[in-house]
Amino acid sequence: MVAGLLLGGFYAAVSLGVSLIFGLLDIANIAQPAFVILGSYAAYVMNSSFGLDPILTGLLFTPVFYFLGAVVYRLYYGSFERRGDESLRGLVFFFGVLFIIEVSLSLKYGVDYRLVDAAYIGKSIDLGGVGIAFRLLVPCLVGLAMTLALHLFLSRTFYGRAVMAVSQDRLALRLMGADPVQIKTIAFGVGIAAASLAGALLITIAPVVPSTDRDYIGRMFAITVLGGMGSVAGTLVAAVILGVAESLMATFFGPSWSLAVSFGILLVVLAVRPAGLFGR
């Protein structure tokens, strides 16, 4: 159970970007996992070259990723969204971005498995007879902090509320004097910035290669849909449900059922609540 909660916190961290970009902005950014892996490689490079803590690197790189996200969105907007071609062609565009990131990482860093070293990796703490690995505890806590930060950004700040508004009615937002493109650029940038930290958390937990992103595409979108499109709290709850389900299945019934049960939960929830747990 505890392992599942920890895993859920991590899943929430990697899914927040998708929740923001896909859930709120309705942009099918399937390159999000590739940005997460880019974050992992940033953490790896800073860790192996300068001994910098991976999570600190993830935090330090968020402005860089924000800027990168803003540039990618502007490119996407100029090429597809403005012309109303965003559905299928936009999907192809993000596929292209995913492959470009993967191949660039392969060319630059090769295809070896990359890991990081940090004081808390490989150690655990005993809490009431339950051994908790720091390697999972730290990402879980950071994931929770990220969720809280995004929730506060969306509910308490002007730009956050504008993002919520643009997801509901961009014309009304324009009538209020705000530029929807500007707001979406900010939101997309924030979503990609989240990938910087999520990538750092990922490489703390497991080794990565440029193609690791493909393992996470299904999970990230499943969590977003299960939680309810655009709901930050829903993303956290869905991530925890999937994490706990995976862990309980792995412990008591055999790990080979864990993913099947997780996605089974998704199907059942969507059958009962098509908008997801917290969707409107």
């Binding site: 090769g110 070896d112 051994g131 412990t251 790990p255």
Partner: protein, 426 residues
Amino acid sequence: MKRSGTWGLLNWALIGATVGALVLASGGVFVARGADPIKIGFGMALTGGLSANGKPALLAVQIWKDDVNKRGGLLGRPVELVYYDDQTNPATVPGIYTKLLDVDKVDLIISGYGTNLIAPLMPIAMERKLTILGMFGLANNEKYRYPNFFQIQPAGPDPQTSTAIGFFELAATQTPRPQTVAIVGADAEYPQNALVGARELIKKFGFKTVYDKTYPPSTVDYTPIVRAIKATNADIVFVASYPPDSVGMLRAAHEVGLQPKIFGGGMVGLQFTSVMTSMGSMLNGVVNYDFWAPEPTMLAFPGIKEFLNEYQARAAKAGVDPLGYYLPPYSYALVQVLGQAVDATKSLDQQKLADYIRATEFNTIVGRVKFGKNGEWAKGRTLMVQYQKVHGTGIEQFRGPGKKVVLYPEELKSGAIIYPYSAAKN
């Protein structure tokens, strides 16, 4: 008549000169044809999941090509490699080899790296009656029994048990003898095969299975699995895993405090330098399969030191495993076999090459190689090594002997096992 005779002489001279020129020219053509390269074609995993091994394998083959060309090539002709990225995607393999054979007109083919990439090549090779050298496939020819297939992984005549045989033989000889076994592996082809072999060996050696489960390859957290294994209190824990799971299982074993008497077996990835240098002392005590280790018994093979020096000098630029102890020596040996067969038969005839390879024992940088049933090694030689006295994460310690001690087979043994696992961990 005189005039006529002069003209006749001139005519003869002209004809002679023309014929001579033609002969010379044609000779020139023959010379040029003689210098045409021998093309060896293959697909290779240069991107995708297996590329961490595919790229070092390519570098090893390139080193062989350079070595051969320095010595004058094969049959007096230079060797040229024609290869394409199969993206670790079996669906690309038929297209790649069709192009290699029909468009690039390669003379010889070898397979790409890995079981899944060899499988789609088998029907093509059989249909065209090609001699095919396989690079690390597990039991690819078990069903086809194609006589012109040869495979360089030293699995031996029974590939399914080859990964685990040394592990369980070692376990069975320890005192006190372990009794119970937990086996776990990924839901993927190699781990499944290894687990089938492990079950067979557990029965053979009379151990009792207390845990036998598989997990999806995309599993992120392995602590619940390790906790479940720990609850069974198994003496032996056999793991058949791919690199991310191997790292996950090993870390979880340390975090949860798993203390079996013997741990490891079929964990892919622990052989890779990047993983070894990241896991560091966490590796201590793990008994795992391997194919090569820098131990005195393995360095005795002719040419291996020179190959590794060259490989390691070129590895950084190629962006591949800096030590190259796992697959590269065998990739080089594979093309060594092909080259020796071409040299000996003085032919590129597929059947002649296959007949020669089947009948001959080859001297390679990984030792003497003789193929047997289904094109596998006549006698298996999968090593069982134990990581011992690993300190920190420095790469230099892994260049020399003593860190990956060969325990099995007996003839290549370079040290003694530290038993139980907990004694080597600290």
